[in-house]
Subunit: 135 residues, 2 copies
Amino acid sequence: MLIGELSRKSGLTRDTIRFYEKQGLITLGRRERRVNNYKEYPDSVLRRLMLLKKIKSYGFTLNESAEIVALIEANLASCERVSKAADEKIATIEAKIQELQAIKSLLRSSVDACLSGCCRPKEDDNCQLFQINKQ
Amino acid sequence: MLIGELSRKSGLTRDTIRFYEKQGLITLGRRERRVNNYKEYPDSVLRRLMLLKKIKSYGFTLNESAEIVALIEANLASCERVSKAADEKIATIEAKIQELQAIKSLLRSSVDACLSGCCRPKEDDNCQLFQINKQ
DNA sequence: GTAAACCCTGGAGTATAGTCCACGGTGTAT
DNA sequence: ATACACCGTGGACTATACTCCAGGGTTTAC
């Protein structure tokens, strides 16, 4: 199929598909062209793109997704291997959540302090929130 | 003070300070130079940098931080204004956390399904995790 | 006199994941 | 004939926040 159809079927834009191609995430043999030089993508590319898209939706980066796709295509994606990758991703997501939650608490407590009025120096003056008090 | 001292006192690298300067987050008059062309930073720049650093630590982007610094320096950083900015940031952080949590649950349930063995087709074959079943 | 430590500028590179554009060719319908 | 949708390439640009480098000058100590 041509890129337009591939785009429609995969739900990725042409530009994205071409970008993936540049990145080497999908490949086309130099012979897989029509006479007019249009690229003729085999179904395997569509499958690969859909796999890539699905794995990405699980929070993996493009490169990580490509690695997992490679495992699957090599029939090396054992439950053990794949769940290990998923566990690692869960761990990094959890770390990120912790980080965000810490910042959120910091913000929340600052806002609370501000709104309860204890930080206000004078009316119509700068809020102490975000200010450097001492060191 | 020269950039080295500024760097030591602010805890930012020279490169970062120069980057902030390029971005217009701090400014130096063309006259604030020593005879040898070395830049002579006034204390106000150090204060600005420390403020920037502190606000950034609350999860704001560099540009957002610069806006808040500008408010503070214009004495317009009222509690109302500042806590509104903080509330908005809290909301975006919460959205991000929700997003991550959704992905985490998806991953977690996939791994559980995998490990409980219900997805395994045959031993030594690809795990169904991440595979496209139908649609 | 020379090494170390400091300063300057401009520009490239890093990571992530595209998105957009120019410029040009092709295929089909009217 | 020409409008329209489609295809190709290469390269620039977006956002975020730096980080590093080359190539050069200055200051200070020994």
